[in-house]
């Protein structure tokens, strides 16, 4: 007896080994760009469809009038009708589909209006989850461009701790944005704890300013986001034993070691921690869009394990 097999839904098909199925991911575009592109296409095609509907009505009238003529003309008009309906992009559904958009769906990715912010994607399609992962932690690095005397920094800064026997860096904290920085004698700095890219940048600048005020010629070179962590809740329990069976090549589930399933997505290169409660942690992203894309990739797979009876 194995606990999972009688309970689980039919085996999900394996993917190509890069992107988990079933996702209609196209080419190498990120899901945000893809949705924008398709929204523009949809608008164009809606206009085209309206024009074509008028043309079809005229054609049908002609076809009806010419019903006694050769069948090839009818076939042509039918093919034209079918070809028209098949041009609709798959992610955007017509009103005739039975699946309805999730209630209360708002634009998926609220973002602050800043130059660094990724473009807000379009209204989500029916397959979209309607759930937005929240960013929990951003890790960034910056080069202050000068050697630093850590003892002096620890002596003259209120918010610093330095224990060279334990760790070879000053640990500094500021209240707003609530973050922590590791400042090394080489002048390199790591900033952690921010909830957005902009907050991370602002915090790093404040740390650099503190170091400047302490008398060092600190600059602000090569600021880079190294890692982003997000989390969300799909609000239904997940049979982790089933998921590891069907996605063995991506998953690691060892309940003796850790209660969650570790899912290593290839595209985008994100690691997801999936828990039985439906909570998901996503990490390893360099940009916000990767977190969102990874979640949109995993959501249909998780939904596949939603019904247990």
């Amino acid at each position: 007896m194995t606990p999972g097999i009688p309970i689980f839904s039919p085996m999900m098909p394996y993917g190509t080994g890069l992107t988990p199925q079933p996702i209609q991911n196209t080419n190498s575009l990120s899901i945000l760009e893809e949705q924008q592109r398709q929204q523009q296409q949809q608008q164009q095609q809606q206009q085209q469809q309206q024009q074509q509907q008028q043309q079809q009505q005229q054609q049908q009238a002609v076809a009806a009038a010419a019903v006694q003529q050769s069948t090839s003309q009818q076939a042509t008009s039918q093919q034209a009708t079918q070809g028209t309906s098949g041009q609709a992009p798959q992610l955007f559904h017509s009103q005739t589909l039975t699946t309805a958009p999730l209630p209360g769906t708002t634009p998926l990715y609220p973002s602050p209006m800043t130059p660094m912010t990724p473009i807000t994607p379009a209204t989500p399609a029916s397959e979209s989850s309607g759930i937005v992962p929240q960013l929990q932690n951003i890790v960034s690095t910056v080069n202050l461009g000068c050697k630093l005397d850590l003892k002096t920094i620890a002596l003259r800064a209120r918010n610093a701790e330095y224990n060279p026997k334990r760790f070879a860096a000053v640990i500094m904290r500021i209240r707003e944005p609530r973050t922590t920085a590791l400042i090394f004698s080489s002048g390199k700095m790591v900033c952690t704890g921010a909830k957005s890219e902009e907050q991370s940048r602002l915090a790093a600048r404040k740390y650099a300013r503190v170091v400047q005020k302490l008398g060092f010629p600190a600059k602000f070179l090569d600021f880079k986001i190294q890692n982003m962590v997000g989390s969300c809740d799909v609000k239904f329990p997940i049979r982790l034993e089933g998921l590891v069976l069907t996605h063995q090549q991506f998953s690691s589930y060892e309940p003796e070691l850790f209660p969650g399933l570790i899912y290593r997505m290839i595209k985008p290169r994100i690691v997801l921690l999936i828990f039985v409660s439906g909570k998901v942690v996503l990490t390893g992203a360099k940009v916000r869009a990767e977190i969102y894309e990874a979640f949109e990739n995993i959501y249909p797979i998780l939904k596949g394990f939603r019904k247990t009876t």
């Binding site: 194995t2 944005p177 909830k195 600048r205 503190v210 049979r239 309940p255 209660p259």
Partner: protein
């Protein structure tokens, strides 16, 4: 490599396992990172290769058992194990729960009378195994196994199976005493798993006509585990409703959280008065972690308007800088601290 073979022999594994485990070790040893690793890691690697081999043959060997034999911490074992699985690109099957139940049950010293085991505590191995398997299957179906260490669930199931086979003599025996008599370690979470399993059985009992009237509790329900297991499939369907689609609905209603359970409990209380003529409404079938109320509510974080390029005022930065007086005080304190160890402690 000899250690690999030695470990396989200690565990009494089939000879073919030895060759596979040795092959894995040799494969791992080809990587520079492993060759340069510390001796402790190499010793742990022995255990990892044996464990992977056992998993691939559905041989129920737990990580805890390997760690005990190798005298290593689970943390150390865990990091080496994850590393080697990734390095060799292996697909390691999950631990086979059914085989683990059989092996674990076999280790209980309750199947023969002995000076430490009273005659009334001795049980038939096959009966106990069969009932334990059914209880573990029930636990798995009702979300008590997913995400949890498997062994405590099996311990709790074995205990309940043993108790239920002769409840008259065994209800007075606690889980801790049972494990001591059986010469088996009691895993810490087993008590909690036991309570969860009993709660599931109680819910099921409410939907069995001849048990409904008895108003069972966690102690008396043990006597009826046989009946409950016999009808477990239909009882689970009637006693629990699928909670997977309902969590969102419940959370949206401000007073609705726990409503399903509340209804069930209220139903129990009032229906108990009516001699339990109607069963309680089905409880939500969800993992225990989803049934408990959240420890703290997580407010939605406000949308940040930070651009990252704001001006930083001097006053804000200066709050993080010590005044000259503070610097002097700090230096004095540091000097005093460094001087302090040289003073002998008074007796």
């Amino acid at each position: 490599l000899r250690r690999v073979r030695d470990l396989c022999r200690v565990l009494q594994l089939p000879p073919t396992f030895e060759d596979t485990a040795v092959a894995y070790y040799q494969q791992a040893y080809r990587h520079a990172g492993i060759r340069a690793a510390r001796l402790q890691k190499k010793e742990v690697l022995v255990g990892c290769c044996v464990l992977i081999t056992c998993r691939q043959h559905n041989w129920p060997l737990t990580m805890g058992a390997i760690c005990t034999l190798l005298y290593v911490d689970l943390d150390v074992f865990s990091s080496t194990y994850m590393q080697i699985v990734k390095l060799l690109g292996l697909d390691v099957p999950s631990l086979c729960l059914a085989e683990l139940v059989k092996t674990y049950c076999n280790s209980f010293k309750l199947f023969e009378a002995s000076p430490s085991v009273p005659a009334k505590y001795v049980e038939d191995k096959e009966k106990m195994l069969s009932r334990t398997l059914q209880l573990v299957e029930l636990a798995s179906e009702t979300w008590l196994v997913t995400g949890r260490h498997p062994l405590p669930v099996i311990t709790a199931a074995t205990f309940l199976a043993w108790q239920s086979l002769q409840p008259a003599y065994r209800l007075s025996c606690s889980l801790a005493r049972f494990c001591k008599l059986a010469n088996v370690d009691l895993p810490y979470p087993a008590s909690s798993r036991l309570q969860e399993l009993l709660a599931v059985l109680l819910r099921m009992a409410e939907h069995l006509a001849w048990l409904r009237v008895l108003r069972l509790d966690k102690r008396s329900v043990v006597k009826h585990i046989g009946d409950l297991l016999q009808h477990r499939h239909s009882l689970v369907r009637s006693a629990f409703r699928d909670g997977t689609g309902e969590v969102e609905t419940l959370e949206k209603e401000p007073l609705g959280q726990g409503q399903g359970q509340g209804e069930g409990e209220v139903g129990n209380n009032s229906l108990g008065l009516l001699q339990g003529k109607r069963p309680a409404s089905p409880a939500l079938l969800l993992p225990p972690c989803m049934l408990k109320p959240p420890k703290r509510t997580c407010p939605t974080p406000p949308v940040s308007t930070v651009t990252g390029e704001e001006d930083i005022s001097d006053s804000e930065i200066e709050q993080y800088l010590r005044t000259p007086q503070e610097v002097r005080d700090f230096q004095r304190a540091q000097a005093a601290k460094q001087a302090a160890p040289s003073v002998a402690n008074p007796p």
